[in-house]
Chain length 244, copies 7
Amino acid sequence: MQQNDQMAYDRGSTIFSPDGRLYQVEYAREAVKRGSVSIGIKTAEGVVLVAEKRVSSDLLVSETIEKIYTVDDHLAVAASGHVADARQLVEFARRESQRNQYMYEEPLETDTLAKALGDHIQQYTQYGGTRPFGCALLVAGMTRDGPALIESEPSGAIIGYKAAGIGEGRADVEDALEEGYDEGMSIDEGLELAVSVLVDRDDTTLEATEASVVEEDGVRSVTSQELHEYAPEDYDESDEETEE
Amino acid sequence: MQQNDQMAYDRGSTIFSPDGRLYQVEYAREAVKRGSVSIGIKTAEGVVLVAEKRVSSDLLVSETIEKIYTVDDHLAVAASGHVADARQLVEFARRESQRNQYMYEEPLETDTLAKALGDHIQQYTQYGGTRPFGCALLVAGMTRDGPALIESEPSGAIIGYKAAGIGEGRADVEDALEEGYDEGMSIDEGLELAVSVLVDRDDTTLEATEASVVEEDGVRSVTSQELHEYAPEDYDESDEETEE
Amino acid sequence: MQQNDQMAYDRGSTIFSPDGRLYQVEYAREAVKRGSVSIGIKTAEGVVLVAEKRVSSDLLVSETIEKIYTVDDHLAVAASGHVADARQLVEFARRESQRNQYMYEEPLETDTLAKALGDHIQQYTQYGGTRPFGCALLVAGMTRDGPALIESEPSGAIIGYKAAGIGEGRADVEDALEEGYDEGMSIDEGLELAVSVLVDRDDTTLEATEASVVEEDGVRSVTSQELHEYAPEDYDESDEETEE
Amino acid sequence: MQQNDQMAYDRGSTIFSPDGRLYQVEYAREAVKRGSVSIGIKTAEGVVLVAEKRVSSDLLVSETIEKIYTVDDHLAVAASGHVADARQLVEFARRESQRNQYMYEEPLETDTLAKALGDHIQQYTQYGGTRPFGCALLVAGMTRDGPALIESEPSGAIIGYKAAGIGEGRADVEDALEEGYDEGMSIDEGLELAVSVLVDRDDTTLEATEASVVEEDGVRSVTSQELHEYAPEDYDESDEETEE
Amino acid sequence: MQQNDQMAYDRGSTIFSPDGRLYQVEYAREAVKRGSVSIGIKTAEGVVLVAEKRVSSDLLVSETIEKIYTVDDHLAVAASGHVADARQLVEFARRESQRNQYMYEEPLETDTLAKALGDHIQQYTQYGGTRPFGCALLVAGMTRDGPALIESEPSGAIIGYKAAGIGEGRADVEDALEEGYDEGMSIDEGLELAVSVLVDRDDTTLEATEASVVEEDGVRSVTSQELHEYAPEDYDESDEETEE
Amino acid sequence: MQQNDQMAYDRGSTIFSPDGRLYQVEYAREAVKRGSVSIGIKTAEGVVLVAEKRVSSDLLVSETIEKIYTVDDHLAVAASGHVADARQLVEFARRESQRNQYMYEEPLETDTLAKALGDHIQQYTQYGGTRPFGCALLVAGMTRDGPALIESEPSGAIIGYKAAGIGEGRADVEDALEEGYDEGMSIDEGLELAVSVLVDRDDTTLEATEASVVEEDGVRSVTSQELHEYAPEDYDESDEETEE
Amino acid sequence: MQQNDQMAYDRGSTIFSPDGRLYQVEYAREAVKRGSVSIGIKTAEGVVLVAEKRVSSDLLVSETIEKIYTVDDHLAVAASGHVADARQLVEFARRESQRNQYMYEEPLETDTLAKALGDHIQQYTQYGGTRPFGCALLVAGMTRDGPALIESEPSGAIIGYKAAGIGEGRADVEDALEEGYDEGMSIDEGLELAVSVLVDRDDTTLEATEASVVEEDGVRSVTSQELHEYAPEDYDESDEETEE
């Protein structure tokens, strides 16, 4: 389809193009690709979430940039894309969790949350007067069947992964994850894999990185200082200083 | 009608083209054709549903891609097209089933569900501010008159079939089904036919396949391992490894 | 009026063209013409409804294609055009019938139903945010004054007929009906006339035909097997086998 | 104003053109002109309404085409233009009449009804999301001051007439009425005048004509058979047979 | 501003043009100018309203064309422009008057009514989904301070006048009023002035004229017969007969 | 930015142009500039408001043109721009004042009213379906801290001034005010300054001028006769007669 | 992307461009850049807010231009961009603070307020019928963990800073802040830094500057007179007089 024709169908969530595509959803995926990368790795012991932050100024307090959010004591999500959109979805997730706790007096299952998120996101792709959410989420939780890692994306589709990357350079990240992944890996090995994938990228330093682990005992935050322990041996901390 | 003219009538559910067509509905059918194939076969003993999944990465947990959904203990549906749209319809179906059980204290009839789905889908083709559903469903159930298989599609039309395929390559699938179908076939023979139709296609492996059987005893899930038993003798499992 | 000018006025139910036409209603009539034909004949004893079905595949269960619907025990309608639209109108008719029974404890009169349908259909031609219904109906009933046959169409107009055809090839069908019609004919003669008009058309076989009779005793369905008894003597059943 | 400029202002009820016109209202008047003619004559004894019908097929039951409607036992209206639109206005009129009877326990005055109709019609010319009504009405009633005949048209304007024609060929009809009208004429003379005006037109036969009289005793329907008594002497009934 | 540019800003009440104009309001003023003229004259004894009617046919009952409306026993309005729009405003005025009487148990002041009308009219110039009112009103009343004459126009502005004309040829009418007006004139002199201004215009006859006087004793209607007494001596009644 | 590009962003309150401007708000400011001028001067003793009126006809009652409105006994506003819009804001202000009196039993502070007005005005610049208010106001009041003069304008911004002009020729008026202003001036000196600024303009006569003073004792109206006392010595009253 | 293509996607908050951008949000950021600059500096003792005002006339009362707003006794915000928009957000913040005080009987945390503001702002970027807020805020507060400074901007994103500038010339301001900033600086040193950054700019004088300090004891306003004490030694007050 030519450029002019595509432009006839890409300015509303509520229309299909002649070949059955929803362009606004596809453009929202582009918004995700413009976001900094987030990585999730499901290990034998739990799920690892590591996210890169874009720190544009030395005066910025990087801790205030949230890429990983705790939903409840056994659920966390990492986001890429429009941060204000992601925050809306995180709040939706937290309300769902509280509602579930209140109504059923038991914690929300990871896949139940992912489906609720997906349904919520889908509504924004079918009705007029709104745009799709411009962000993807990695939902990490401990379930009866062990650790679970599920991605939600702007169409409302939800898919489980052993390891996944969302945001800028997703393809390269997933290649690196496929190479290093092992189902039996420990959380420490998961952190090592995630960190090595991140630092391999030219523009990432561990200073501007956020990490959490969802394990049997709940959600645990990993500081960027702690992350250094998981860095490859040849990782040169002094590089961080020369960053511009 | 020329390209330019068609473009004048294809950007809203709420208008007819001069030749009486609803282009947005036709484009939604294109969205169905872009989806991976699902097959339904009505046998003498029950209905077989087999669906192919698109597994884009080794790290993806293929079990989390749902193509076949249990609606209640005697009803299941297989979907092709936009997965988040399909999930909405499945949830609608489940609510209808629960409402029916609650109000009439008896299970929902297959054709009653199909009509309710069709009516729900039709609304999205007549009123503004929304788009049609970009998915088709195969509704499978056991009724007083035996097994039933009904397709719903984006216009809201519902049609019963002895055997049907929806999604990518529907025409080829239906040709193969017509050739191999026999009304008196058993469920096992139905599974064999479905599997043979699927593996004939270049890009399908049984690993990425989901199946369910709706029979007298209810809905029964068939694992991809079990499906191998129904594969043609010349089916080479090693092919699966070399898939890219 | 030239093509370009027509296109300025034909994309909304809620505007008139400079010559006072409602193009969306006219296009909805085109949708009716694209549908398979339905025939109604008012005889001295009751009303005959016969409808052709489009059976696109041998695996399709033609009984599940509904063209004739029973509204209550003395009222039936045959439809042509968008099937999901027609189903909406049939459900509207059934609700009207139940409401009438409940409120007045007497059956709904045929012309009262036709007017209610026409009013409902008219609303979709005057207000924005929706499209007209893309179907026509033949409403058949027994009234105090004997049998009645009324057509409703996308503008909301309703007109009584002695015999009428809606859908594809309406003009030819009506010519044939005018030639063969007699007000004093019996139901059997009405069925004969309807069947002979249908089988005269190249692409019709009695296998893919649905029929009902509305008579003193209520609505009675006529199977496609029974319809063969009404076929002209030179009708060759073997033709049905060679259909493609 | 040139064609292109007019087209900039004629596609919404809610905008004025630069010269202060409401094109959609003017186009709705064109819809009236496309309708078959209705004639009203106010005589000394009552009001005569005669309306021509378009009978497109011998199988059509012309009695089911309504052009003249009884609103209550002293009020009737004749319509030209979109029949489904006219039916809406007639129902509005009947509800007004019932409401008036219920609230004030006295019959609705003719001019009160005409104003209520005009106000209702005006709303459809000022607010968005709808189109004007594509029909005109002749409202006939007996009042304290004697017979009354009032026309309502798509702008919502209402004007009283001694004799009036609406629909196709209105100008010629009004010329003929002006020539033959006399305020002191009896109802029979009024019917004679109306019939002579109608049969003077090439395409009219009394068979396809509907008539009512609103007089002291209430509304009385005049059959097309009775109308023949009022036909001019040179009216040749055999012409009706040769009509095509 | 060029034609093309103006057209970019003149199709919605809710937008300003770059030079700060509301074109839809200005076009509604054009609609007023297309209406037949109405004249108001404030005299020492009361207010005179005289309005010309357009009588397009001898069969039209000119009394049914209302240009002057009594609001309550001390308030009347004359209108020019879209008659159905004017009727809406008159009904608004009557409701305001009744509400005032009911709530405060005293008659509505002329300027209070004019402001309420102006506010009502202004709403239609600021919000989308509607068009301005296409009419102007002359509001005439007796107040504590004596007679009052206020004009409301499509922007919602309200201005008091000693004498004013609205509708077609307003400029000429106002020139003639300025020349003949005297603040101390009696009602009879006011009627004489209004009549002389009207009959000076080529196309006006007193037969098609409506008049009312608002004076100490209330609103009094002046018949077209009575108006002849106020005509200039050289006014030739026979002219009326030759009118076409 | 070129003309064509500007036109892409200037037809809705709810969009920004690429350079961050709200064109509809800027066009509403043009509407203010088209209005006749209003002047406010804050003196040591109170605030002076003087406004020019456009009197287009000798028959117009200039007192009925309101440019200065009393909000409550210690608050007044002068307006320039669309008069019907201004009246809406004045009514809003009066309701706010009454509400404040009712709820808090104390008079509304000048800056509280100005902020409430600004917030009300801002809403009309952010939401669709409406246009900004096409008027500016000078709010004058006595506060605990002495006299206050605040301008509100179509963006909703509110700014305090020692002396200000709104409407046509604002720039020249403000230059003249800057030259003649002194913070310690008396109310009489303020009126002198305002009058001298007004009569310096070619088209202004004191006959068509309205004035009010807000001082310790409340709001006091100044007649145009009284204003002559404040006119410069060389002001020639006879000029007023020759005005056209 | 070319100019023409960008223009296809930049006129509604509710659509993404093909590369995943929300142009209306980006244009709202341009509106912020058009606003006068505001500076926030987090010191060891509290947060300093200093804002430049645009004083266009000597008659303008610069104190009435608000750029810094007290939200409650421990929270303040500085704004740049559309002032009426900023006022809306400040009122939202004040309502949030009161609601929090009322519900939880404790003061609102700085980051809780910033998130509430960000969520509120995000809504205006996802739903149709509105535009984004055309302003950015610097939220300053004292928290359990000491002073906090958070920026909210038109996308709804919120980010913490040690020191930040918003509005015109932001880039230069941030360069100067990075150079002079020290985490351990006192409030006095923070004021000195802010003032020196401001006066370095050609068009700024301390007369037109507003400042507040949020410290342990609450929010404290700093007059422009006091600000002079923090000016660099070479700052020449006489420059202020020559400003144009």
